[in-house]
């Protein structure tokens, strides 16, 4: 099959997919389409954050929790100094980017030391960071009455309402706009000199070295970008959701993001912006449509949540098993 045919088929698949989603949303229930778009905007950037690490050869970034925590910290800080509206969001993103860039570099250096086991180590790095930050949320001297426990006046609450700061400032289309913008930026970046060097380093480190490209450098860059996307992603997510979720909430977030990018056709060694875009659409479409559907079958239970788990973890499992497939490099 030639490449051109392949592209045509891809375009056809995407086009028909979009039509199916729209028709289904319209037919299904009022407001489903908006709900769907909202979810895509909220989760899109987190899913997109998986792409740079896969491309630079690190694999799925199960340690994205680190970026998420940086973003959350930015958000908390923004509330603490009492910023409101879009300004508080911008400030939170700014702080999040700086922190996540620093932690991303450190995390990348760590991952360079344990090549081959990035995903396992990443998962546990994520877990331990979440726990570490759980302690930090309690003991850090935050004062804002919006965030601390009302009784005792010390320590942050598990969920912090964003009513007075950046909750909902972006709107549905704002978050989608940021998502699409980041997609375009990442796509552009992958076609620059540095981006191609990063791709090469990820595909085949030995070959890259022979080309004069130092793979380790670009692995760190990839992890850093992913981490920054994680920080931005959680802020957009929180803004859409209306709450900042602290403590154990970021623990399982990487898994949903991983499932999203895998369902879009990425593998552990190969991913593109298109995979992330498709993945988040399909994944969120399944969620949006399946939840009310399953709820109507099993009316008095929370089975829809279990089904969601089965889908997301099942997809992760499928992709991890599939990685052994033969592929020439």
């Amino acid at each position: 099959m030639t490449q051109k045919n392949n592209k045509k088929e891809n375009m056809f698949a995407i086009f028909s997919g979009v039509i199916i989603i729209i028709i289904a949303c319209v037919l299904f229930k009022k407001g489903t389409l908006i709900d769907f778009l909202n979810r895509v905007g909220m989760n899109g950037i987190l899913v997109l954050s998986m792409v740079p690490t896969i491309i630079c050869g690190v694999g799925l970034n199960f340690g994205i929790s680190i970026g998420i925590l940086c973003g959350l910290f930015g958000g908390v800080l923004s509330i603490e100094i009492g910023l409101t509206g879009i300004l508080s969001f911008v400030f939170a993103v700014f702080v999040g980017i700086i922190l996540s860039a620093i932690t991303g570099i450190l995390y990348g250096k760590l991952l360079n030391g344990i090549k081959g086991d990035e995903m396992t180590v990443g998962t546990y790095v994520g877990f331990s960071m979440v726990s570490l930050m759980s302690i930090a949320w309690v003991i850090l001297p935050f004062k804002s009455p919006d965030m601390v426990w009302t009784i005792g006046g010390k320590g942050l609450r598990t969920t912090i309402s964003l009513e007075n700061s950046f909750g909902g400032v972006l709107g549905v289309f704002g978050s989608i706009f940021i998502f699409i913008l980041l997609c375009i930026l990442l796509y552009g970046f992958l076609h620059t000199k540095t981006g191609i060097a990063m791709k090469t380093a990820g595909i085949k480190p030995k070959y890259a070295l022979n080309c004069g490209i130092k793979p380790d450098k670009y692995r760190i860059l990839g992890v850093m970008i992913s981490n920054i996307f994680g920080a931005i992603g959680i802020l957009v997510y929180s803004s859409g959701y209306g709450f900042l979720q602290l403590y154990q909430a970021p623990l399982m977030m990487p898994f949903a993001a991983v499932a999203g990018v895998l369902i879009g056709g990425a593998t552990i060694k190969k991913a593109s912006v298109l995979n992330a875009l498709l993945g988040v659409c399909i994944f969120q479409f399944l969620m949006t449509v399946s939840t009310p559907f399953i709820n109507s079958i099993f009316s008095d239970s929370s089975l829809s949540d279990s089904v969601r788990m089965v889908i997301s973890y099942g997809v992760v499992l499928f992709a991890l098993v599939r990685q052994g497939g033969r592929r020439i490099k």
Partner: protein, 523 residues
């Protein structure tokens, strides 16, 4: 009396003939050396004698083997053992984490019968540890070294491990022949002396020894008779007394003064473009030590040596793929240790011997393979939009089309995947990739490996022409000495990790033979 008689053995791997009608007789109690260069067929012959599965897998062999006058059929390694043929291989078959005696008696233990074994068979017999330890110590004493049976193997030197391997073979009672495959490559001088005594003693007790090597000194020192193999053909069997080292060297390399290629006219240029000073490096189990050499501008210089003697490391050091000690200067600039980016920036382009692993990205298109490196290092093929450097694919494809024309790469279009091309054309893509960097020194390693004859000639002549036109300095690393003699002006000979000499290609072939095969004590 002949212990083993090999009659008219031929073996092909695919289309290439590895052994061509070989007949050798091994007498009882003699030390018989089999001498040959890389790819002469030594190892294949031994694989046949030992019944290695690779022979069966690749279609078996033609010819007959007689052991003590009886025709035998050796299919598995176990058959070979039953016929009394033991082998000590070049790659050690030693388990590092267990003791010496356990290694020696592994799967051949001395056992005592007990009640359960009477019912369930031999596998349930008790192991007689004591007598095995005693036996091991005995053997080690007879070899005059102080390895204890209870030592754990990973503390021993590689030479000592070889002794264990030898002990494993000589402990067998019905052993008739022991084959040693390049045993001395890891020995120290003292160890190789002891080794000589050991095999002499073994042979006196009536066991024949086949001794495979490419080292002339050892052949002369240890063996009774010598068989020389070259390109799968038997060049003759000689008594040690009736032959000189020089004659053996010539037989081994072959006389090829007739086929001199029209080399480029010697450039009278004394400008040093690159110089290595005391370079030492290791990669896996291959290493180079203390290499110092000056390379002149515009010359084609060869690097030769038997495999495992540092050839592969040499290329990787120059390409910046591995770390080294010592200094490398190019055009007066000192290279940074193991920094391929810096090496390429200073004009060294390296075509790796590991074509599919290091040299190419097989799933990528031809233009990506050729242009990525040049784009990254030399900022070629770049479209600037604002301050961002985007890759210019149009220009890449245009340049690739030019390469395809110049180097005569057979392909559909620049976007075809490199993995779909034939070996020769893949190699040309590798060379095009290196040339796109505008190097001042081109290092090519094993550029003709796995390529058919026509493509080989094509590639080599292309390289020579480029060198002529652009004054490019080429360092050609190759296992094929004849190829180097044909195309290079000077040839660096690596032997036993060290630089053994730099010979002009007009020197007689016996000199090359001596340089490649002589042992280390000579220098």
């Amino acid at each position: 009396m002949n212990v083993i008689e090999i009659k008219n053995i031929s073996k092909k791997y695919g289309d290439s003939v590895v052994l061509d009608n070989i007949s050798i007789n091994i007498k009882k109690g003699e030390i018989h050396a089999i001498l040959g260069e890389n790819g002469a067929g030594k190892s294949t012959l031994m694989n046949i004698l030992c019944g290695m599965p690779i022979i069966e897998k690749t279609g078996g062999f033609e010819g007959e083997i007689y052991i003590e006058g009886e025709k035998v059929n050796i299919v598995t390694p176990k058959d070979a053992l039953n016929f009394g043929i033991g082998i000590a291989k070049q790659e050690l078959a030693i388990i590092n984490d267990i003791t010496v005696w356990e290694n020696i008696f592994l799967n051949d233990e001395i056992t005592n019968k007990n009640i359960i074994s009477k019912i369930f068979g031999k596998n349930f017999e008790f192991i007689d540890e004591k007598s095995m330890i005693n036996k091991s110590n005995e053997i080690m004493e007879s070899m005059k070294n102080n390895i204890k049976a209870n030592d754990v193997c990973n503390k021993l030197s590689i030479g000592e491990k070889h002794f264990i391997e030898i002990a494993r073979e000589i402990k067998r009672k019905k052993i008739k022949v022991i084959i040693f495959d390049e045993p001395t490559s890891a020995f120290t001088e003292n160890e190789s002396k002891v080794f000589g005594e050991i095999i002499r003693n073994i042979s006196k007790s009536g066991v024949s020894i086949i001794f495979i090597t490419h080292k002339l000194d050892e052949v002369i020192k240890y063996s009774d008779r010598i068989t020389v193999l070259r390109n799968g053909k038997n060049e003759g069997t000689f008594d040690n007394k009736n032959i000189t080292k020089e004659k053996l060297a010539e037989l081994m390399i072959g006389n090829n003064q007739s086929q001199v290629f029209n080399k480029k006219d010697k450039i009278q240029c004394d400008e040093i473009i690159m110089s290595l000073k005391n370079v030492t490096a290791t990669k896996g189990n291959e290493s180079i030590e203390d290499i110092s050499v000056d390379i002149y501008k515009g010359e084609i210089i060869g690097v030769a040596g038997v495999s495992g003697q540092g050839r592969g490391v040499f290329g990787d050091v120059l390409g910046g793929l591995i770390n080294y000690k010592g200094d490398i200067y190019i055009n007066g600039t000192k290279l940074k240790n193991g920094d391929s980016e810096y090496a390429i920036k200073n004009g060294i382009a390296y075509v790796s011997d590991d074509r599919k692993g290091t040299g190419l990205y097989l799933a990528g298109s031809i233009y990506e393979n050729i242009c990525t490196s040049a784009m990254y290092i030399n900022n070629k093929f770049i479209k600037k939009i604002g301050f961002i450097n985007f890759a210019n694919k149009k220009e890449m494809k245009k340049y690739t089309e030019k390469c395809i024309k110049d180097l005569n790469i057979k392909c559909e279009n620049p976007s075809q995947k490199v993995g779909e091309l034939s070996g020769g054309n893949q190699q040309k893509v590798c060379i095009a990739k290196a040339l796109a960097l505008n190097p001042s020194v081109l290092v090519v390693s094993e550029v003709t490996r796995g390529i058919d004859i026509l493509a080989k000639k094509n590639i080599l002549e292309t390289l020579v022409n480029i060198s002529k036109e652009k004054g490019l300095t080429i360092i050609m690393i190759s296992s094929d000495l004849n190829e180097l003699i044909k195309y290079c002006e000077r040839i660096i000979i690596l032997n036993d990790k060290k630089l053994r000499g730099i010979l002009a290609s007009s020197e007689p072939s016996e000199k090359f033979g001596l340089a490649i095969s002589e042992g280390s004590e000579k220098n």
